[in-house]
Subunit: 566 residues, 2 copies
């Protein structure tokens, strides 16, 4: 399942063999992009994987459902994998697990209770029965030569962990995704004491979350959203709809508390919302006051001022419940003037157009829409500059490898490290596939292996590649013009009129009448030469049509000539 | 040139005839969208047009170059148009002028000096010689029954005007795009005195810019960007590249001043940048210190620390100079580690992915990229909530029609008006095509006419419609599978093997071997029935392939069956 080759890392060659006693680190995803996080550690011939997530496609990857890390580098070494450590339950950290386990189902998955619960639910849908190893902050786990120690971190999902990996080659610490909310709803702080202790013992290489490295300062506490919601609830006279990520238990908890306070019943809308909140409740991570929850069916029948709908769709997904409401075609919920909709969520880069489309649709129908740009209904889950500096000063790593970020984030993180006094050559700026070896306490970039984008499209994994995507881009922008000619080779005559089929070029059916005549004329002329063959005729069709659309329309549709000999 | 019908305004019917002595107002674009601004006023059988801009397409309009206002409503009344008033020179206000003048070339264009200079340059490219009427703030212009009075406003382009239209039916004021920078670089303030004076005389209907209605407070002065640039220039040790809009004369002026202060030469990069700044210089709106400017050729030869490149491409346009630099394929400029790139511009919604792609590309090559999210290198050109309230309190209109905005902006503007004490029924929330009549001093929504999207694609205007776009979306997401069968009708035999042509579905050429057999089998079976015709055979192909791709791949490519009888 090797993917489409992306731009190779600036001037790097294939890496040399890993020296005896050295630790090798490589990312198969997550560097140079936000998503499909997957780090691979190698020591003494054995591998430890940290996270295995998916990346969501951009506009230039049309029709793609998901992008996986490129397993090509490890798929011939699946038996060397001692475990996959999962730092938390977000899709960009666990989403690709089903595809990895298809290659080897019994790879042990090590993670916290909530993380594993989400993984398990996901794998059930893929009919995979995984080997799960539950750990908690403070626990140790030995995976081959990798002695893992888990540290609690605070993030936008409960039960998130950082992992310290002790090997004879040295100590590597991976923060996972984290921030330093000092008033976390569940009281679980990022354990700076543990990072400090490890720092004293000597962290050789720190892999740290770069997502918000460009953002100055410190995070606003998640708690601060409660009063804002309370104010919105107090002013809402009719139906309330709050949309957020289906994994953001603490955000949803505050919505439930608000609803309880304002005597509104709550209905969960959206498959993942219902599933995840059920899991969270069962694990005691989400508290639902008795009688608070109702079904959407019941909520739809209640007076609007007595309900809150908690739904997915905060990223503008057109097929989500909220997306349908915004278009006025949800089968149970009709937006009425005076309704209030809260998007209590981030605006993931790339989703802006879709999200504003939903906001505009709801506004058009008369709803008041509250979103992060008009009220403080969202705080980020990732540490901004101030907290990243703090971690560096506490953990005092010898080397830093910025992870979890696009190039702008990785470079900004590097700058922060240099500000805290780290020599520039101690910051290892890498992208997917870049190989870093830690040998004798010294970490260096030793080379790079090609990492591709592995595309999931429907049930297909890896079948759709750059060639198909390029065709989709042309077809999607310009449409196609297909011309089919049937010729009788012996007599070299065109048996029937040239058949034209076109889509996406023009709504005017007569658009091609002119060029059809041109094509038939040039073919007839060509057929007078007895050496002309099907290939040559195809060239003539392509050239004639291409010139015509370019001169007359300044367009370049895909031109598909077919010459059939009968 | 009538366009693709969009969603009709909630429950409105066609408008009744305009009563004698009444003023009719309708937008052909710009309401419910940011772009293609065009308002049409009607009095006593004559029309006045205010602005005529283009809208830039979104992802669901693939391959489209521009979207025009729908002239369908007025194209049978072109001779009734007394003039087109242009408030300022931005593309979303003047971009569609060439397409309107194609319908009637001698429509008088009324606007300020700089606005008309930009329009003239644009029309030259379309080989159109317009009738231009230059006006300045304080001037009057009589266009048929429309007595226009022009008011200076402050915006992100020089020489912007608001227009007051006096008619026997009452006074209408259109702000155009404005903000209230109290320290404008060119000293030209938004003339609150004029708005106050008109307010005292009684403004019946105010059309006011809604773009930033969701943004609290007041604008930061354009001037405040100077010191930020100065700081960036002071820290830059190598090449400096500053990107901004090619019409933002004041922004560019500050870059030139900074360059002069730091002894750097300036080269303008990008066709529109060179053209517009030339126009601005000729009109005395842009001041270039002697010897400051050099050609890009010369700049490319100079030591990097002695030059500043001022370029287009701030919105991530892949073909722009900056876009090429970010991909490392600009023929004259190669980004080196240590270079500094400043995006001194807004981030237009919808362009985020493209802009971040450029920022990441530059970062990857080692450049330090300064952009609005990391430094105060941009201020908006549109009045936020505080200034919109101020205008309403100064102008005291009887009725407000929020314009220039998506639904979220229009509704937010309506809220602001109600805060300032306007009764809700005095705020007319309309979208494109909604008709408002001002009769006996009373403004009401009287109906709506369908307004479509008129798409420009290459040289084609209006040929590409919803049908083609829908095809493009399917083709762009899923690709196509075309199967061609040649049959001999009399013998009802398939003359040659079924021919398959597919693009965008899979990079694996053998993907369809299986289904080809299925298709041939089902066709042979079908042909045993003598009633089967080409149409029926096409259905069979479509059904067989459709079921197969859906069951086996969970995909839905476009299926194109062709049955040729010979």
């Amino acid at each position: 399942m090797s993917g489409v080759a992306t731009q190779p890392h600036l001037g790097l060659k294939a890496p040399p063999p890993l020296p005896e006693g050295g630790l090798r680190v490589m990312a198969l995803g997550g560097l140079g992009e936000i998503g499909r996080n997957m780090a691979v550690l190698e020591f003494d011939g054995q591998l430890l994987v940290i996270d295995c997530g998916v990346l969501f496609p951009e506009a230039e990857q049309p029709g793609i459902d998901l992008i996986l890390p490129d397993f090509g580098v490890i798929e011939h070494r699946l038996d060397d994998i001692t475990a996959v450590v999962l730092t938390h339950g977000h899709e960009d950290h666990i989403g690709a697990i089903p595809y990895l386990l298809r290659l080897r189902e019994d790879i042990p998955l090590v993670g916290s209770r909530f993380t594993l619960a989400l993984v398990k639910a996901k794998l059930r849908e893929h009919r995979i029965d995984p080997v799960l190893v539950e750990v908690a902050a403070g626990d140790d786990h030995l995976a081959g030569p990798f002695h893992c120690e888990f540290i609690s971190v605070n993030h936008s999902i409960p039960d998130a962990l950082a992992v310290a990996v002790h090997t004879p080659a040295g100590l590597l610490v991976h923060t996972g995704d984290f921030k330093m909310d000092q008033l976390p709803l569940d009281g679980v702080l990022t354990d700076l004491g543990a990072f400090a202790r490890l720092g004293v013992s000597g962290i050789d290489l720190l892999l740290s979350d770069s997502t918000n490295a460009e953002v100055p300062g410190f995070v606003t506490p998640e708690r601060s959203i409660g009063p804002v919601l309370d104010d919105v609830f107090a002013r809402a006279t009719q139906r309330l709809i709050v949309s957020s990520f289906a994994s953001h238990v603490h955000r949803i908890q505050q919505v439930l508390d608000c609803a309880h306070k304002h005597d509104r019943k709550v209905a969960l809308v959206g498959r993942s919302m219902v599933r995840n909140m059920g899991v969270a409740r069962d694990l005691g991570l989400l508290h639902m006051a008795p009688g608070l929850m109702v079904s959407l069916d019941d909520a739809a029948k209640m007076p609007p001022e007595q309900v809150v709908l908690v739904s997915t769709g905060s990223q503008g997904e057109p097929l989500s419940a909220l997306g349908r409401m915004a278009r006025g075609d949800h089968h149970q919920v009709t937006i009425e003037p005076g309704d209030t909709v809260v998007l209590a969520s981030s605006l993931v880069p790339g989703n802006e157009t879709a999200v504003y489309k939903v906001i505009n649709g709801l506004s058009r129908l008369g709803a008041t829409v509250v979103h992060k740009e008009t009220a403080k209904v969202h705080v980020s889950g990732h540490a901004p500059a101030g907290e990243l500096r703090t971690l560096l000063n506490v953990a005092k790593p010898r080397y830093l490898m910025p992870v979890h970020g696009e190039w702008r984030h990785l470079r900004a993180h590097a700058k922060l490290a240099e500000e805290t006094g780290m020599p520039a050559d101690r910051v290892l700026l890498a992208e997917d596939g870049v190989v870093i070896d830690l040998v004798d306490g010294k970490a260096t970039i030793v080379g790079s292996v090609p990492i591709g984008n592995v595309y999931v499209d429907g049930l297909n994994v890896g079948d759709v590649g750059e060639e198909s995507l390029q065709a989709r881009r042309i077809l999607g922008d310009e449409g196609f013009v297909a011309l089919t000619v049937v010729v009788e080779p012996s007599t070299r005559t065109i048996v029937r009129p040239v058949h034209l089929s076109t889509k996406g070029f023009s709504d005017d059916p007569s658009a091609f009448d002119e060029v059809l005549r041109l094509v038939e004329d040039s073919l007839r002329r060509a057929l007078q030469d007895e050496n002309v063959d099907a290939h040559r005729m195809s060239q003539i069709i392509r050239r004639t049509v291409g010139k015509w659309v370019s001169d007359k329309h300044r367009r370049r549709p895909m031109i598909i000539p077919t010459v059939l000999e009968v």
